[in-house]
């Protein structure tokens, strides 16, 4: 049994605005609490209503590395969901729908896979009979799903209890009753074993978190000591703002929604300048508006963490879909030349860890650090081992204490001192004896304006040296890439960011078939891990570049840095994430 056959995909589809996302979250949560591994991927249009929404949840007993578009259980809340998804069914799939409310002629459907079972459950009628609210049809449907998957009803009950107990036991009971009605209806009318796949709890499994990449980043930021976040809502990063805000009072963090992205980044820089850890987050056009101030962070050497969550462009593009098309934009955003770190997390753990690292590096090297993610990673949820965070050390680099400052002689303080590492001592406003002005104009070691050629070169070199130091100390090459699989392979896949899971799974599938495939994950676009990547690719067999964009931007970055041309490319740029099946197919075809 490979990872595809040992897991199943449950998909609920219906009109936007009808609680699809909530339902997906509930199903995922139940499975996660049953000790199963879960990956949940929501698809929704950039509209509040009317468009088609889906929540796809993939469940398995072993780690689930991404979504699988082949559906084992289709829960269709309207006709569109049938029209759109019947063609995506797996062998032995089950289709659950309300045949009374949405009559559908399945005989007209061509090419249904073998053994598909059609399960009509009168969600509407059952809801009515129980005198439940209209929206509780979804609960009926949820119950029916579990019956179809031969799942234990108690799994549902436990989560309902946990979710609704705050609202009172009667709410729990009511919900349970409604779910049970759907569950029982299926068992009674259709019996068991409707779907080829089964939902079986894993006894004694570890407790795991179920969270999104965005959650992991927000939590990472809080752990890092974030004190101030300023941002402007934008898909797919809004939930980072919201998670931070939700924890604001408890953790002493101010999350300020600003008038626009320009204010957001400028406020974050102002706050960071005063010695708090600060960040901002945006996407596409919002990030574009921030590009000017990135240079201010660099020039005034103010630490800053920026999360960039991408979506398909150009321009407004497809705001709620996914794409990896802003790699180059982030690498080169803002005028002038300066060092920066661009992290490329590939899963929740990396989102968390790279956020921790970003806050430290931003302060140690006094420069902007970026976390480049996308809608697929940011908004998909997956089961994740509880973050290990006790060993995290807040590193504040050369940030002085007030006592340090007390020992400074007034007039001596060089905020931008030309040190060997390029890193200068950092006192913040409010400290004694260290008065200085930080300027976006070129300045000398004290911070005074100085446009002489000599000073210019000195300060450019000083700032550039910080990157040298960062490469050798703060973030050595070994942390900037990872070779997954056997060192020796006939095919090396290259990828970055959110495609990590699907590529890993495809690699595993290929290896199981006896192919020798490995996967070079680029974890950091800047500073680019030149030597490591060059060494691996130089002795690689075939190389396949896999990216969720149309220009194979990482392949370009690799060639720029190593001279190595990767001509085999597997690119997807229709707004949908890459999945293991198609990557595997591509591998086979090479």
């Amino acid at each position: 049994m490979n990872s595809l056959s040992s897991s199943f995909t449950w998909l609920v589809g219906g009109e936007a605005g009808y609680g699809i996302t909530t339902m997906g979250a509930m199903f995922a949560r139940i499975c996660a609490r049953a000790g199963l591994h879960v990956h949940g991927y929501p698809e929704y249009p950039s509209l509040i209503r009317g468009g088609h929404n889906t929540a796809m949840v993939r469940v398995g007993a072993k780690k689930v590395l991404g979504h699988d578009p082949k559906i084992d259980v289709l829960l269709a809340l309207n006709k569109d969901a049938l029209d759109l998804h019947l063609s995506e069914l797996n062998d032995g799939a089950a289709v659950i729908y309300d045949g009374e409310s949405v009559p559908y002629d399945f005989s007209a459907v061509q090419g249904l896979p073998a053994g598909v079972r059609i399960v009509s459950v009168p969600f509407a009628r059952i809801t009515k009979e129980l005198e439940a609210d209209r929206v509780m049809r979804n609960t009926v449907a949820l119950g029916a799903s579990f019956a179809v998957l031969s799942g234990d009803f108690n799994l549902i009950y436990n989560v309902l209890e946990r979710t609704f107990l705050r609202k009172g036991p009667e709410v729990v009971e009511h919900n349970s009753r409604v779910a049970r009605a759907g569950y029982d209806f299926v068992l009674k009318n259709f019996g068991e074993g409707l779907c080829g796949k089964k939902l079986t709890a894993v006894a004694g499994a570890l407790e795991r978190m179920l969270l999104s990449g965005n959650d992991a980043i927000a939590i990472g930021a809080i752990k890092s000591g974030l004190k101030f976040m300023s941002a402007y809502p934008m898909t797919p990063v809004t939930s980072i703002m919201q998670t931070v805000a939700a924890n604001g009072v408890k953790y002493g963090i101010v999350m300020k929604q600003t008038e626009d992205e320009i204010a957001a980044i400028n406020m974050a820089i102002g706050a960071a300048h005063m010695g708090v850890r600060a960040m901002t987050a945006s996407s596409g056009g919002g990030f574009a508006l921030m590009t000017e101030a990135l240079g201010m962070s660099a020039m005034t050497e103010t630490p800053l963490v920026v999360v960039m969550g991408t979506r398909p462009g150009p321009s407004t593009g497809m705001p709620t879909w996914t794409e990896q098309s802003d790699l180059r934009f982030v690498m080169h955003a803002s005028s002038g030349e300066f060092g920066r770190v661009v992290f490329l997390p590939g899963d929740n753990d990396e989102c968390f860890e790279m956020t921790l690292a970003a806050f430290n590096l931003a302060e140690e090297y006094q420069m902007p650090c970026f976390i480049l993610t996308d809608k697929y990673l940011g908004e998909s949820v997956s089961t994740t081992e509880i973050f290990e965070h006790k060993k995290y050390k807040v590193k504040r680099g050369t940030l002085m204490s007030i006592s340090d400052a007390t020992r400074v002689k007034d007039g001596d303080f060089k905020r931008f001192e030309n040190t060997a590492s390029g890193i200068s001592p950092r006192a913040v406003p409010g400290y004694p004896n260290c008065i200085y002005t930080a300027a976006t104009d070129e300045h000398n070691e004290f911070g005074d304006l100085d446009e002489t050629g000599e000073n210019r070169k000195k300060m450019m070199d000083k700032r550039a040296r910080k990157m040298v130091a960062l490469k050798s100390h703060g973030l050595p090459e070994s942390e900037r890439f990872c070779l997954h699989g056997e060192a020796d392979a006939d095919l090396t896949i290259v990828g970055w960011g959110s495609t990590k899971g699907p590529i890993l799974e495809a690699m595993n599938l290929a290896c199981e078939k006896g192919l020798k495939v490995n996967f070079l994950q680029i974890k950091c676009a800047l500073p680019f891990p030149v030597d490591g990547v060059a060494a691996i690719l130089a002795k690689a067999g075939k190389i396949l570049d896999v990216e969720n964009n149309s220009e194979a931007q990482m392949a370009g970055v690799i060639r720029e840095n190593t001279g190595i041309l990767i001509s085999d490319r597997f690119l997807r740029y229709d707004g949908r994430p890459l999945n293991a099946r198609e990557i595997f197919k591509k591998i086979i075809s090479l």
């Binding site: 179920l210 752990k223 101010v254 101030a293 201010m296 004694p432």
Partner: protein, 294 residues
């Protein structure tokens, strides 16, 4: 955390940095800088607990010339930078300063939002009615018909009334000064800096090099002091709104409006105790959050 010993100024010259000043002889920015120094000195503010945040423009050089902490930010962005500073350390006196192009041109959205937000900031605009650092283009406060190389046929738009905008946006303190009347300007600054909340001071600042219309003389012929009109009630917002439109034959200087609004900081429980920058971050316990995701 140790706290900083209070630094007490003995002499106003302690506010000089000794940096070379590059303003044209006669520039109104000198008067503004002097008045600001006098105000800070007379208020006996600790320069180490004060930061002057500027944008980009001639006058935005000011932080380099004043021995408090300083931040010389981007064109139009002094206010959001200043706001971020206030959030991070609300015990600091944060004063933003910049030109009319900076504040009423490219930065105007921050200006009206700062007024609405009402953080305890002071905002000084060196309003010379022209873009000077870029050598003399029309600004949002240039008079209608003002000719410059970008409006060779004369500016078509009427100038903004920045004080009216500030009041409309909710500013709790709105005033105007004149760079040519330093004693008066100093008093206006003192009132603004002492005000709790967003305090906006528009300063009429002759640019002797590029603005040949709005000269010292031009202003002197027109200005009068609001304080001299005992019937004027600076607590009356509507009256202030009306006053703010007075521009032309006569131009009022002084405090237009001094209202009473609770400040933003006070409504933020996270900042009630220590300033954010003094809160401990070395070992944040996220276990309670992680639990929510299980």
């Amino acid at each position: 955390m140790t706290t900083k010993p209070l630094k007490i100024l003995q002499n106003i010259t302690e506010l000089d940095t000794g940096a070379k000043c590059n303003w044209c002889p006669g520039c109104g920015d000198f008067g503004i800088l002097i008045a600001l120094k006098q105000a800070l000195f007379e208020l006996q503010l600790d320069p180490e607990m004060t930061i002057l945040v500027s944008g980009i423009g001639c006058g935005s050089q000011a932080p380099h010339l004043l021995k408090t902490y300083g931040f010389h930010s981007l064109h139009g962005r002094s206010l959001p930078v200043a706001a971020g500073m206030k959030f991070a350390n609300h015990r600091m006196k944060v004063i933003a300063i910049g030109g009319d192009g900076d504040g009423y041109g490219i930065g105007i959205s921050h200006f009206i939002n700062a007024a609405r937000r009402n953080l305890d900031l002071t905002y000084i605009v060196q309003n010379n009615q022209v873009y000077s650092l870029t050598k003399g283009q029309t600004s949002p406060t240039s008079e209608s018909g003002y000719k410059s190389k970008t409006t060779p046929e004369g500016a078509i738009e009427p100038p903004f009334h920045p004080l009216g905008l500030a009041i409309s946006s909710g500013a709790s303190f709105v005033a105007r000064g004149f760079a040519g009347d330093i004693p008066h300007l100093k008093e206006v600054f003192k009132a603004a800096i002492s005000h709790r909340g967003f305090a906006h001071v528009d300063v009429l600042q002759p640019c002797v090099t590029f603005n040949k219309i709005n000269t010292y003389r031009w202003y002197q012929e027109r200005i009068y002091k609001l304080e001299d009109d005992t019937s004027y009630d600076k607590k009356n917002r509507l009256e202030a709104l009306k006053k703010a439109e007075e521009w032309g034959e006569r131009i009022p200087i002084g405090v237009y409006f001094a209202g009473d609004r609770s400040i933003y900081e006070e409504a933020v429980p996270q900042m009630a105790d220590l300033p954010l920058c003094e809160q401990e971050i070395s070992d944040v316990d996220i276990d309670p959050i992680l639990k929510n995701y299980i």
